[in-house]
Each structure stands twice: as C-alpha cells, then as structure tokens.
Symmetry: C2
Subunit: 155 residues, 2 copies
DNA sequence: TTGTGTGCAAAAGCTTTGCATGTTG
DNA sequence: CAACATGCAAAGCTTTTGCACACAA
C-alpha cells in the first residue's frame, strides 16, 4: 500500500489532525491518546479493542482498557478510525485516514476480510435518503461468503 | 402488511418448513422450538433474544434463555429468521419467510428501523463475487442517519 | 490549582456452557 | 431406553462504570 516513509508521513498528519480535534473540543492532549493513535496507524488490517490493548501492553506501554475504549471512541468521532461489526459480538476497528471509502467482503470460513469500492452504493444512499426522508450520515455494507479454494485457517 | 387470516396461513407454513428441517437433520421436534417459532411469527418488526424470552415468560410459557438462543440459531440456519447487528453489541432478529430481500435504514437518534429494496445490491454482489473469487452467500447493508423532523424518543 | 483523564477493578450486559433432569424417537 | 433437548445457574467475553490518583492546561 505505502512504503515506510509515506507511513511516517501519514502518522505525522493524523497526529496533527487529532491534536487539532482535541484542541477544538477542549479535550486534553495526553500521551496515551497519541500513543494509541500512533499504534493504530502502525498496524495494518482490522483489529479489536482487546488486541490493541494487548499489543500495547506487550510493548510495555502502560495503558488501561478504559483508555483504549475511550480513545477509540474519540478517534471514531473525528473520522480517523472506523468501527465495524462483522456479524460477531465484537467490534472491529480500522484506520481510515487517507483511505478511499470502501466496503467489506468477509469469508465466513476463515474470517479473511477483503475490501472493495462500488459507486452504486453512493447512488443508493442518495436515493434512499431522499425517498425515506433521512439524512444519511454513513453506512455499512458487508458481503459474506467463501473464498473459493485457498481458504487458510480459521483465525 | 397482511391480515389476520393470511398471518395464520403463514404460521402454518413456517411450522411445516421448520418441522421438515428438523426431521431432515435428525433434530427433535420439541414443543419449545415450535412455540418460539410461532411467537416470532406473531410478532412484527425486529427483536432481540432477551425481548423474545421476556415476552414468552410474560405469557407464562416456561422456556429458558438457552433454548431461545439455541432455537434462534436453528431458525437462522433454515432461513426462517434473519440475524442482524445494527452497530450495537446486541443481535437483532426478524422473521424472514415470505419477505422480499431487503436492507435497513437506521435512525441513530431514535433507533427506528426502516426497510428498503434496491436491485443494485444484487448487481454488486454478483460483480464482487466474480471479481474477488468469492461465493457470496449473503450480505448486510445498513444505512445510518437521522429521520428528518419527526424523531420520537430514543428506544 | 482545578478539573479532566487515567488505571484498576468491579460491574454490567449479552451469550454460551455444564450438569442434572426430562422427553423425543 | 438411549440420546438429545431443556432449565437453571454459573461462567465467559466484551464493554462500561466508579473511584482515587495523576497530570494537562
């Protein structure tokens, strides 16, 4: 997707965006909040709150679950992170800055998640918003199925 | 949607379908399983497992949460019930027999759920299945927003 | 200095599991 | 009568909350 230096660049940008967001909303700039954001943008793919917490603990970063959950909520609010529910009772998150809007294709056998874009979704949102008198702010489209052939292991 | 007599007819049909499904899979035809299915098809709209459990208890029907969850899973397996996750950590269910495939529009303020159909979804499923080499079995599309004006109370 | 944020642990809420009992086939 | 389903309660898991302490502004 991107090489190491552009990843560093991205991290700088999101830290700035988050900093501005915190300032604007009179929230405190704590080291934990920035550390969590940085950790998220170093990782790839999707993750859940517990995995993020464990990963930070493993790096000997002192942080609590409460702060992880609290910060994830803030990051979702300022659109730096997206929250998903892929059919399980476990919220999944992913970084979203600089990413094109996309939807997900989930393998019900191995849990693999692929991403795709389709402009027709936007058309549907516009039409249904009009028709049903809703102001549509966001959406979630997940396709479920089996990845033909090469299905690794259940994760 | 349908008058009382066609609802009775529907209930007869789904009871037969479920009965056949149980037989085919060597599962037992217990009164609890049929009672739960009947209760679901008497209700309208979306519900969660706890609400269903409470409602049956209130009618003095002796049933346990375990059986409710177990039966819901069976009903999802035989396509008589659909399971949703509308962004919360709480599974929502709805009856699905005889209903046209549809998607959902959820008000983030009051929790109201509207339904809609759009043929473009099917096109997207076909195209993405081909393109990404997936056998797509089902999908979930939720649009989130605010119902303009008349937003009753948060439920 | 003041009040928001944090860590920790306990609590809450949904779902699953274990075990003894009951009932279907 | 043997296996499976049920009821009940306990346990499991994710997420939220309460409280005392820490620290950003």
């Amino acid at each position: 997707m991107q090489d190491a230096s552009s990843k560093e660049q991205t991290i700088k940008e999101v830290l700035n965006i988050f900093s501005a967001y915190l300032e604007k909303n009179n929230l405190r700039k704590t080291p934990e909040r920035f550390a969590i954001l940085e950790e998220i943008y170093c990782r790839d793919d999707h993750f859940d709150a517990e995995a993020l917490y464990i990963h930070m603990k493993n790096q000997n970063y002192r942080v609590s679950r409460a702060t992880v959950y609290n910060t994830l909520e803030l990051l979702v609010s300022c659109d730096l992170v997206t929250k998903h529910q892929f059919g399980k009772n476990l919220a999944q998150y992913e970084k979203s800055y600089g990413y094109k809007q996309h939807d997900h294709l989930i393998c019900v056998d191995c849990g693999k998640v692929l991403e795709f874009c389709d402009p027709r979704i936007q058309q549907i949102k516009n039409m249904m918003g009009d028709l049903l008198k809703f102001t549509i702010t966001h959406h979630s489209l997940n396709l479920y199925g089996q990845c033909n052939g090469a299905c690794p292991d259940k994760s």
